[in-house]
Symmetry: none
Subunit: 214 residues, 4 copies
Amino acid sequence: MRRTPRDEARQARTSVYRQHILEAAERVFADRGFDAAKVQEISQLAALSMGTIYAIFPSKHDLHRAILELRGEELLDLARTVAARRLPPREALRALIEVYVDYFLAHPAFLRMHLRAGTSWAMSPLPGTDEQIEKWQEIHELQADVFRRGIADGVFVKEDPGYLARMFTVMDQVLLSDWVSSGMKARRPELVRRLGQLVERAFCRPASERAHRN
Amino acid sequence: MRRTPRDEARQARTSVYRQHILEAAERVFADRGFDAAKVQEISQLAALSMGTIYAIFPSKHDLHRAILELRGEELLDLARTVAARRLPPREALRALIEVYVDYFLAHPAFLRMHLRAGTSWAMSPLPGTDEQIEKWQEIHELQADVFRRGIADGVFVKEDPGYLARMFTVMDQVLLSDWVSSGMKARRPELVRRLGQLVERAFCRPASERAHRN
Amino acid sequence: MRRTPRDEARQARTSVYRQHILEAAERVFADRGFDAAKVQEISQLAALSMGTIYAIFPSKHDLHRAILELRGEELLDLARTVAARRLPPREALRALIEVYVDYFLAHPAFLRMHLRAGTSWAMSPLPGTDEQIEKWQEIHELQADVFRRGIADGVFVKEDPGYLARMFTVMDQVLLSDWVSSGMKARRPELVRRLGQLVERAFCRPASERAHRN
Amino acid sequence: MRRTPRDEARQARTSVYRQHILEAAERVFADRGFDAAKVQEISQLAALSMGTIYAIFPSKHDLHRAILELRGEELLDLARTVAARRLPPREALRALIEVYVDYFLAHPAFLRMHLRAGTSWAMSPLPGTDEQIEKWQEIHELQADVFRRGIADGVFVKEDPGYLARMFTVMDQVLLSDWVSSGMKARRPELVRRLGQLVERAFCRPASERAHRN
DNA sequence: GATGAATGAGCCTTCATTCAT
DNA sequence: GATGAATGAAGGCTCATTCAT
């Protein structure tokens, strides 16, 4: 145990660098896309040498993946928290909207990177695409669960839950894309309201139909 | 005028080559994505030399753009035809759905390419993204017009028409993405119905509200 | 068969390039050793672009291996020819000497490269060394066979044939190394005589002992 | 003079470090070869920091050279001791064999490193090769002297003494290479006998010829 | 005009060396 | 003095683009 303090210091430093690098990379990937992004540029933006970056991330792809995993993990935690509250489906959906909007407003660089990458993987991923990251699949499952429950309760329209979840995801993205391209002026309540209304209309059955439970 | 026949022949030949190349490129871009696609592979698939490709398309980017322009033009024509019919907004929207589904079912390679590229440009394009193609902007405008009219008529919800148009676009894409990744089995009527219902719910005001015109 | 002429032309060109490149690489590897050799330098010496080199040899290692294989193949042919003559062991050994000396006098760049690489692989290769090329192993076997026969006949000393073959190989190399470092002045007969005497003394049993066949 | 004790301590420490580092480096160079060896790995094996290594050896090449110098010095001492005994040439040669075999059996890591490097520098060094180390040249001279005397006495064959010395060196190496690659099983007497016989045959004139002194 | 072989700029990655702590 | 994290120059390899035939 004697080495612990030194190791702790190293851990701490590495952790700080990880953040620096991930943030810089997020920005560069957001600005250029994966292929056009140069590791050199990331290193300059992070003010760290190539060697330091490669000491932490074995390759450009790993760096990219790490961002998706980090952000995916964070979003997954949020989705799990919502799920844990065991809200009725409509409230759960609303909570997801709030949580996602909050998250992306707080992480605009990742938002841009995410939007640039396309929703490609939010859609059922095409064969031949990689970056099939577990976390995002799990987020998708949690969303699909909300829809599954809502369908069973008769509050959501009868459709494939996965399909509804994907629709929900891209709606989110369009909303936020609009927000970015109109200068990030709108405020959170406005965004939540706007998306909330759309989602409500798109996925909830009118009260009149609901009585029939079918 | 003596050269006209010769020129015509050239034009014809070039035109045939263009098609060959565009189709091959579409397939390769669909399979690999823009960056991973090699011009060499396109040339092999098209059975045309690199020189011929570069004689017609000055660069890989131009080739990519040309596909978007060609397909954009075709879709724009369809959208214009729908617009020219001066249908009431709901019928117009329905017609757009049919027309888009038909088009993409008929051009699966472009569909895959389109989906892989992400909806990035379907969303309000992020600054720094190129491929700012006029045709797609025009399609977007025609869609937005339908929404504008529907909003004015009180049949569509009151929201920014551009926002609604973009939502409409990505809904299309999710539907088709699902179709591709589930093996392209569903038939046109099923797809049209499925998307029609979603769009109807998402954008049309219930009859009860409509009376008020507000 | 219509494409044959074009293919032939390509084959011919590729073949010429292969030679150019192999010769240039041989020189550079001879001057610098494998690791210090830069592909760039080889490309300049060959007056061919990097791309052309990599079109023919997939990697720097492949290029290196190709040289060893080419020269190994040539030497193997010579050794096989000697073997095919079914000479008595002493004469066979003498023939091998002549053949090797001739070959290396004719290929001084390969000789230098070969000597620089060290006899490392002429000795029983150390574990962890690669470049374990079949041809060289086969040459070694043919040499060992000569020794095996000579031992059976009682003309060579009783020792492990593989050990004797390796001794023979390095003796060759020392002779030629001396020749290189003393300015490549000595002529073939001088070299053959010099090595012949050494080899005779080292491996042949004196006639007096031979009578006993043991 | 006040600093002497402190300086002595430093000297002692540095000296210990030198040993550690040289041994570690020897092992790593033996396992990987010069270029593939990483200074990092040497530092880990030696359990000393990069800084400490570079404080003692200004560069990787210096470290490599230092090993050759250290081992060269030790072998040189042995060769000098043999020379000092003023033995008749044949006995001197025999003594050298014993001394070399003993030394390499005692330093197998250096043996492997030495063999891997190839006999390149044991042969008359090619122009363009560095590592032109004085000690090894001196060892070579001492060996050559033995041959020179033996030739003068008519016990050794008439050849260039330097050439004979180099032959002697590589014979040593082949013997030991065989020993390494066959699992280091044979014992010293076996090795000495084996090499002794070969050397005797290769370099000594038969008694019958010797009478003539020419 | 068409070809496709040839080009070479550019980028990811490694590792000998340095220097702040 | 010792450390080992940080540096960044260097080099293998790819592939969009060109141009001699």
